[in-house]
């Protein structure tokens, strides 16, 4: 994952986007490990955002046209519901880019491998508009706004890099011999 690039449209949000906005509790009766409910969770991604924002999932569709979410500080605060990173992954989001994360959301994103939680050096939600095209380059650690042609620095993942590279906590634990390979 760390060697590739992610390119797509961005959806831009501000500070303190909480897990109730990412996936309202009414949808927590869905179990993410049941495949049809996983897809359903994706269709409800960001259903708790204020009504005046552009729809994250177009009406009648299950997936989002936005591959990248740009957030402000403390992205994913609140609940430990893993449904939050999972619904983003299920909707087709590949990465979230934010200057800081709430710890459980960040951890769940890494452990599940559902969505890449990328830390930006600066707060970028004023540097992008929803619908801009962006490219994340994990070799150069940059995100480029291809609409405005500006580039911004991303932080390298540090200590969690091996878990992200492995694709989650289970794959990492298998890699280091902590648990057995799957049959």
């Amino acid at each position: 994952m760390v060697n590739k690039t992610i390119k797509g449209r961005v959806y831009v949000l501000a500070d303190n986007i909480d897990t109730d906005q990412i996936i309202p509790a009414i949808y927590l009766n869905l179990v993410p490990t049941i495949p049809e409910e996983y897809a359903k969770l994706g269709s409800y991604a960001m259903a708790g955002l204020p009504e005046d924002l552009p729809p994250f999932i177009p009406e009648g569709e299950e997936k989002t046209p936005y591959a990248i979410v740009i957030g402000g500080n403390n992205f994913g605060c609140g609940s430990s519901r893993e449904h939050a990173p999972i619904c983003l992954g299920a909707a087709g989001v590949e990465a979230v880019v934010a200057p800081s994360y709430a710890r459980i959301f960040f951890r769940n994103a890494v452990s599940t491998g559902e969505v890449f939680p990328v830390e930006s050096k600066d707060r970028l939600c004023d540097k992008f508009k929803t619908g801009d095209i962006a490219e994340i380059n994990f070799t150069a650690n940059t995100i480029t706004n291809q609409t405005s042609e500006e580039s911004f620095e991303l932080l390298s993942p540090g200590a969690v890099a091996p878990v992200i590279e492995a694709g989650g906590i289970f794959e990492y634990a298998r890699k280091i011999g902590m648990i057995k390979q799957k049959d």
């Binding site: 303190n16 909480d18 109730d20 906005q21 309202p24 509790a25 009414i26 927590l28 009766n29 869905l30 179990v31 993410p32 490990t33 049941i34 708790g48 204020p50 009504e51 500080n73 403390n74 605060c77 609140g78 609940s79 430990s80 519901r81 893993e82 449904h83 990173p85 800081s100 994360y101 709430a102 710890r103 459980i104 951890r107 769940n108 452990s111 599940t112 200590a159 878990v163 989650g168 906590i169 289970f170 990492y172 634990a173 902590m178 648990i179 799957k182 049959d183």
Partner: protein, 432 residues
């Protein structure tokens, strides 16, 4: 250099002499807690990764407490509890508190210590962000997701980063009418919803010593609302007596060294604290209740792991006794034990249940998380419109109690009760 309580517990659980903030360590888990909303997914992960015939690492260490979506007609909610029941049977699990049976308890964070599963010095993970509540008894306790919980189910271990510790020294004496909830709302107001991100919040000082166990739980419960990994209070004799009254299992409390290193220390004189609220839509939107009396209310709500314990209802009853509420007032005891206390506890010879009925509160709901997090459409107390609510719960995020257009103000049980009488936000000290 010495260590903090959190560092000592984690070092012990990792089998090493000492750990430092930022270290990534594998710890042995003493208790894994899950419930009906995250349990089925956790079981799904466990079976997907370890196989259909896999066995839980230690059946004595897994506690399953359904509490979120219990009193609802939602079919998937019932299906989810059935998934738990099947798993309990398959794995022969001893600690399952099944809805609709005499073993049912209610809100997991009030039920876990009630049932003696919280012990000082131990490591607790739970699939719920308010698992940080249990630091009130000197345990390291934090919330995790389904995937990490599925990993624990199979291995009994988890890879975690040692948090830096932020210390809050609270001295002085609270004024009458100012309680634990006011302390934590004030702290979150000061440091912000990300003021303690990835940190351990250690609370100490004479004001903490003076609090009862439930007050300490209220404070640790909301550590997550400042971004904290865990909240923790050293186990004093009061905490040790509480734990011993609930379990025979042995435990070893651990304590911070005098020369422990803290990331930061905040000092407060709590005698200056006042009854307060957190305004919509963040727990950090602090305001003194007395400064917001112009805010008209539609609804009051007393319940949840934060504000639905026995002592919370006693505080509310002290204000409500002999008075009438002027807005819909919803009461949801956290657990069956709390619901029984409402029948048995009295103030000047009148039971709490009678005081609430005489005050005109709505009929008391059966124990569960109820509208604290909105939930299914038919959840008791869930908002559906533009209601302005004052609540003893923990989060006032947009849409948290159901409707995206309702507005939630967080407050102590005393402030909620005083406001329910006034019909607007009110300072309870005027009624004491």
């Amino acid at each position: 250099m010495g260590s903090t309580i959190t560092e000592k517990i984690l070092a012990k659980a990792a089998g090493v002499e000492k750990v430092s903030p930022g270290d990534n360590i594998w710890v042995d888990v003493d208790i894994l807690l899950t419930h009906d909303v995250c349990g089925p997914g956790t079981i799904g992960v466990f079976k997907r990764e370890f196989g259909d015939d896999a066995k839980v690492w230690d059946i004595e260490k897994l506690v399953i407490i359904p509490d979120h979506y219990i009193h609802t007609k939602d079919e998937k909610a019932h299906r989810n509890v059935d998934i738990l029941r099947d798993f309990v049977k398959e794995q022969d699990l001893p600690y399952f508190y099944d809805p609709g049976t005499p073993s049912y308890k209610g809100v997991c964070h009030v039920a876990l210590p009630e049932a003696g599963h919280v012990r000082p010095g131990e490591v607790i993970f739970g699939t719920d962000s308010h698992t940080c509540t249990h630091g009130a008894l000197g345990a390291f306790s934090t919330g995790i997701g389904n995937t990490d919980a599925g990993f624990v189910l199979g291995t009994g271990k988890l890879l975690i980063k040692v948090p830096k510790t932020i210390r809050f020294v609270l001295d002085g004496e609270l004024q009458p009418g100012v309680v634990a909830k006011d302390i934590i709302l004030r702290i979150i107001g000061d440091i912000g919803v990300d003021g303690a991100t990835y940190g351990a919040l250690e609370f100490c000082g004479s004001a903490i010593d003076a609090l009862d166990i439930e007050g300490r739980m209220t404070i640790c419960n909301m550590a997550i609302e400042a971004g904290g990994k865990n909240g923790i209070i050293a186990a004093d004799q009061k905490a040790i007596d509480y734990v011993k009254s609930r379990t025979d299992k042995p435990f070893t409390p651990l304590y911070s060294d005098d020369d422990a290193t803290y990331e930061k220390t905040y000092r407060y004189d709590v005698s200056e604290f006042v009854p307060c609220i957190a305004e919509p839509h963040l727990p950090s939107n602090y305001a003194a209740a007395a400064d917001r009396t112009e805010v008209k209310l539609d609804r009051a709500y007393i319940g949840s792991c934060t504000g639905g314990k026995t002592s919370d209802f006693i505080m509310a009853a002290r204000i409500l006794k002999g008075r009438k509420v002027t807005i819909d007032t919803f009461l949801v005891p956290a657990t069956v034990e709390v619901a029984e206390a409402l029948l048995n506890e009295q103030i000047e010879g009148v039971s709490l249940v009678q005081i609430f009925a005489d005050a005109g509160c709505l009929d008391i709901a059966p124990p569960s998380c109820a509208a604290c997090l909105g939930g299914p459409d038919d959840t008791f107390g869930r908002t559906h419109g533009n209601e302005v609510v004052i609540s003893t719960t923990n989060r006032n995020f947009l849409g948290r109690m159901g409707s995206k257009t309702s507005k939630i103000n967080l407050a102590s049980p005393m402030t909620v009760a005083a406001s329910a009488i006034a019909g607007h936000i009110a300072d309870p000290r005027e009624l004491m």
